[in-house]
Amino acid sequence: MRSPVQRRTLRPLAAAGLVAALLLPAALPATAQTADDHILRVGTDQEFSGLNPWQAVYVVDYEVFTLNYDLLVGYDQNLGFTEGFATSWTTTPDGKTTTFKIRPGMKWSDGQPATAEDARYTYQLVLDAIDKEVTLGSGYIDGYLSSAGLAAVSAPDPETLVVETKTPTSLLLPAYVPILPKHIWEGHSLDQIANPEADGFFKNDPPVVGTGPYTAVEFDPGKFIRFARNPNYWGKQGGADEVIIQHFESNDTMVQALRNGEIDYARGIGADAFDSLAGQPNIVTVEGFANGYSYLTFNGYTKPIKGGGASTKAVADPAFRDALGWAVDLPVLVDKVLAGHGTPGTSLIPPFHSNWYVPPAPNVQRSFDLTKADQKLVAAGYKLDSSGKRLDKEGKPITLAMTWPASESELATAAQFISEWWGQLGITVEAGVTEDDTLLADLTPPEYDPPGLAKFDVYMWGWVGDVDPTSLLQPFTTDEIGGSSDTFYSNPRFDELFVKQGQTTDPAERKAMLQEMQELFYRDLPNIPLYYDSELHAYRTDRFTGWQSQPPGTGTPLFGFGPIGYTQLTLASAAAPSASATASEGASSSATPAPAPVDDASSAAGLSSALLAAILALVAVAVVGLFIVRRRRDSGTTTPKPTEDE
C-alpha cells in the first residue's frame, strides 16, 4: 500500500522542524553581546495610551509627555516650582493676571524657535475646548486649566505670555499642561486633536517635536517608546543618550528582566516580588508614597430613592459612620492587604502631598476599639436586639452589602477583615465583588444623566491625585453629586472652603483652609480612608548613577513630576567619557533629533523578515531533498529487524 499521507504531510513538517532546530542554536551566541550601555531602559506595568498628550490617562502617559515637552512651570526635587517653558512669572495684586517670561532663544527639537506664541497656542486650544464644551481627549490635561478658571491668554511679544483667570487662583502655576509646538499642531482641528475617532486624528507620531530633554523617536504600540536626547534641550542633559520605556504585562517577568540587567528601572512592582529584590546585587529598591488612597465609602445619599438607595438610613448618619470608624483596624489592613507596604489612612489628602497633608489631632484620631464602637453606636441610637443583632433607628437589623470592583482584587482581603470586625458589633456584612462597569452604574445617583438609583450600602475603591490636591477634594463637594461624588457628601462649609482654597494665592492661608477641610472630612467620615499604598520601584546602579527620589525620602526617582529624575542621571562608567554623548552634541547642528538609528532599525526589521522567509524556504528545500535521498538509500540497503512488539 502506498502512503501518500506520510509523504505529503510528514516530510515538510519534519523539514521545518529541522530548520528550526538548526536555526535556533546558531542564534545563541547573539545574546552574550549587550547593546549600547548609554540607553536607559525603564519597565512599567502600564500600557501606553499614545503620544498625543491630551489622550493621557495613566502615570506612564504623563511620564511620556513630560519627557517630550516642558510644562510652563516645572517642578524641582522638592516639588517646588522651578523654571520650565517659562523662566519666571509674576501675578498682579488682584491675583487674576499672571505674566510669564519665556526663555529667550529656546528651540524646539527640530530647530524651530520656541516662543510665547507656542504657549499661547496651547492654552488657547484649551480655551477653545472649554468654549465648545468638549473634552480634549481623555479630559485630564485640559481640566487643570478649566479648574484654574482660565479666561484669556495672549502673547504680546515672543518672550511674554499673559494669562488671565476669572478669579484669583492657586491652580494656574501647577497646571500640568505640556506646551506644544504651534508649527506642528496648528494644522489640525480641535476635533482631530481631541477626538481619537475623528477623521485624520492627530496621533503625534514620532519623531515628536518638543522642548523636553528627550523626544520620542520610535513608538511600537503595546511594546515600548524610544526617546532620543533632544539636542536643543535648554537644561542640564542627562547621562543617557536614549531612554526606552517598555511595558510589561507580567510583573514577575519585569522583575526578572531587572534582575537579569535587561532593564535599569522597574515601576509598579508587586509586594512579594519587591521583597525578593531586597539585597540583590546592583539593585536598589524604593518605597515611595503613592499619590492616592483606597477607601471604604458609605452611601450618604439622604433623600429616599424609589427602588434604590441604601438598605438602611444608618449609613447616611455621620454618628453611625464615626462608630464604625472605630471598628476598622487600619494597621492590620496594611499588613494583610499590602504585605506592610503602605500607611494607614486618615485624610482625603495623602501624605504624598507633604505640603498639604494634615494628620488628625491626637484627641480626635480613631483607633481600633470595638468597645468604644459599641458605646458610640448605642449612644447614637443603634441598639442590639435580644439575639445580638444591631438594629437601625427603624428597628430593622442592619445588614450591609459590601462590594468592590473586580479590578481591585486585593480589596477582597480587606472585606474579609472588616466583615469580621463589624460582625462583632452585630452588623451583618454581605461581601461580594462587582464588575467595574456594573459597580459604576450602581453608584450613579438620580442627579446623573440618565438618572441612577445609587443602589449600594458600602463599597471600596481608590482615588488617584494630581500634583495639586484639588482633584482629590472635588468629589466631596455638593456640586459633584451626579458627577464624581460617590459619597454624596454635602457640607456647605466644605463647599465654601473648596472654592476659596482654589482662589487664594497665599500658601499659608491655603494650608489653613485645607486643614479645616481635612478636619471636617475626618469628623463626618463620608468615607474611611483605608490606606495609602506605597509606590514600589527598583533600579539598577551598574549602568547609571545619580538616582534621586522626588521628593527626597517619600517619592521615587522616576515617574514623579517633570523630567528631573532623568536629567540627573549619569553614566556609571563616567570615567570613560561617553563617546556617543559627544556624537549627539555634534548632531545638534542638524535640524532633527538623531532620526538615523530609527531608520536603521526599521529597515533592518523590514529587510530581515523578507530574508527570514527566504532563508527558511531555502533550508526547507535543502532538507527535504536530503531527507528524500537518505530515505531512498535507507530502504535500499537496510533490512529492518522485526519488532519484539506482540
Binding site: 500500500m1 502506498r2 502512503s3 499521507v5 506520510q6 513538517l13 519534519a14 521545518a16 528550526a20 536555526l23 546558531a26 542564534a27 545563541l28 547573539a30 545574546t31 547593546a35 540607553i39 500600557e47 501606553f48 495610551s49 498625543n52 464644551e133 473634552t135 479630559g139 481640566g143 481619537p196 475617532e197 486624528f201 504600540p221 503595546g222 517598555q246 510589561f248 504585562e249 507580567s250 517577568t253 528582566a257 534582575r259 537579569n260 535587561e262 464588575e435 467595574d436 462597569d437 459604576l440 446623573y448 444623566d449 468629589p475 459633584e480 451626579g482 458627577g483 464624581s484 532599525a601 533592518a604 526589521a605 530574508l611 527570514l612 532563508i615 519488532t643 519484539e644 512488539d645 506482540e646
Partner: protein, 322 residues
C-alpha cells in the same frame, strides 16, 4: 466538490452566528463604558453625553446599534480601541498577529514532528525504555500549565544560567549591523517561548499518537501484512501510520484554532507582544472593542481550523466524504 461546498457553507453560517453572539454578549454586559468618565472630576456631563453619542450608545440596541454593528463588521470596521487612542481595532489586532503566528507556528511544527514521532515510536516499541521515559515525560508535560512551564524555563535559562534573554522579541534599544544580527537576536528571544509551547504540545500529541498506533497495530490488516512477510519498518510507515494519523490530524487542526487562546499565558510570561498579551491588556484596561475583536478573530480561526480538519480528513479517509 459538494462535500467542500457544504463544509464551507457550514463554516460561513457559524461565523455569522458568532458575529451576532459577539454583539449580544458585549451589549449584555452590565454598565456602560462612558461611566468611567464620571470618575474624573474634570469631565463635564456635556462631555459625557458627547462621548455617548460618539460611540452610538445613546441609540436603541435593536435595530440601530445592531444594524450599525453588522454593517461595520461586514466592512471590516471593528471600531476604535478605547485604551490605545486613535487606533482602529483591526490595526491593533493586525499588529499583534505576526508575533503570535511566528511563536505558535514554530511551536506547533516542532511539537508535531517531535510529538508524533515520539508517539509513533513509543507505541511501536511499547514497554521499551524510550516508551517508559517518553510516556512519563509526556504525561508530566501534558498536565503542566503553560505559565508554570514557561516560568521554570525562564528562571533556569534566563535568570540563573543567563543563556537566553528574559522577554520580548528583540533586545531593547539594540541596533543591528546586519539582517543576520537581527535574526540572531530574534531567534534567541524565540527559544524559550517556542520551547514552552512545543513542550506543552509534545506531551499531548505523543500520548495521542501512541495510543492511536497501538490500536492500529492490533488491526487484522497489520497481521495480514506481517503474514505476507513485509518488513516491520515498512509496516509501520506504510500501513500503520496513515491510519493512526487520522485522530492526530483532528487534534492538531483543532489545536491550531486555539493558538490564540493558548497563547495568552505563554506570551504574558515572556512579554511576547502577541494576541495573548493583547487579550490580557484589553481585559485589564476594559478595552471592550479590542476584546470583541480578539473574540471574533479567535472564533473565526477555530471555525477555519475545523473546516481545514474536515477537508484534510476527507482526503485522508475517503469514507468521510460520502
Amino acid at each position: 466538490m459538494r462535500f467542500l461546498a457544504r463544509r464551507v457553507a457550514q463554516a460561513l453560517l457559524t461565523i455569522g452566528f458568532i458575529v451576532i453572539v459577539n454583539f449580544v454578549l458585549f451589549r449584555a454586559m452590565p454598565g456602560s463604558p462612558e461611566r468611567i468618565l464620571a470618575r474624573n472630576p474634570n469631565v463635564s456631563p456635556a462631555a459625557i453625553q458627547q462621548t455617548r453619542e460618539r460611540w452610538g450608545i445613546d441609540k436603541p440596541l435593536i435595530p440601530e446599534q445592531l444594524v450599525a454593528y453588522l454593517v461595520a463588521t461586514a466592512q471590516g470596521d471593528l471600531g476604535f480601541s478605547f485604551s490605545s487612542r486613535g487606533r482602529p481595532v483591526t490595526e491593533v489586532i493586525a499588529g499583534r498577529l505576526g508575533p503570535t503566528l511566528l511563536l505558535f507556528g514554530l511551536g506547533e511544527v516542532i511539537a508535531i514532528v517531535v510529538g508524533l514521532g515520539l508517539g509513533a515510536y513509543t507505541g511501536w516499541r511499547r514497554g521499551g525504555p524510550v516508551d517508559l521515559v517518553g510516556n512519563g515525560v509526556s504525561l508530566v508535560l501534558y498536565s503542566m500549565p503553560y505559565f508554570l512551564l514557561g516560568m521554570i524555563l525562564l528562571l533556569v535559562f534566563a535568570s540563573t544560567l543567563h543563556w537566553l534573554p528574559t522577554f520580548g522579541m528583540t533586545t531593547l534599544g539594540r541596533t543591528y549591523d546586519s539582517a543576520l544580527a537581527y535574526l540572531g537576536d530574534l531567534a534567541a528571544h524565540l527559544v524559550l517561548p517556542v520551547a514552552t509551547v512545543a513542550l506543552g504540545l509534545i506531551g499531548q500529541y505523543s500520548i495521542l499518537m501512541r495510543s492511536s498506533i497501538i490500536e492500529t497495530l492490533n488491526d487484522e490488516y497489520i497481521t495480514t501484512a506481517r503474514a505476507k512477510g513485509i518488513p516491520s519498518g515498512r509496516i509501520l510507515r506504510a500501513h500503520a501510520l496513515p491510519n493512526a494519523l487520522l485522530p492526530a490530524v483532528s487534534l492538531i487542526a483543532i489545536n491550531l484554532g486555539y493558538v490564540v487562546a493558548g497563547a495568552i499565558t505563554v506570551e504574558v510570561v515572556f512579554n511576547w507582544p502577541g494576541l495573548g498579551t493583547l487579550t490580557i491588556e484589553a481585559l485589564s484596561a476594559r478595552d471592550y472593542p479590542v476584546l470583541q475583536g480578539v473574540f471574533l478573530a479567535l472564533s473565526i480561526s477555530v471555525v477555519l481550523a475545523n473546516l481545514f480538519a474536515d477537508l484534510i480528513y476527507g482526503r485522508l479517509d475517503p469514507r468521510v466524504r460520502s
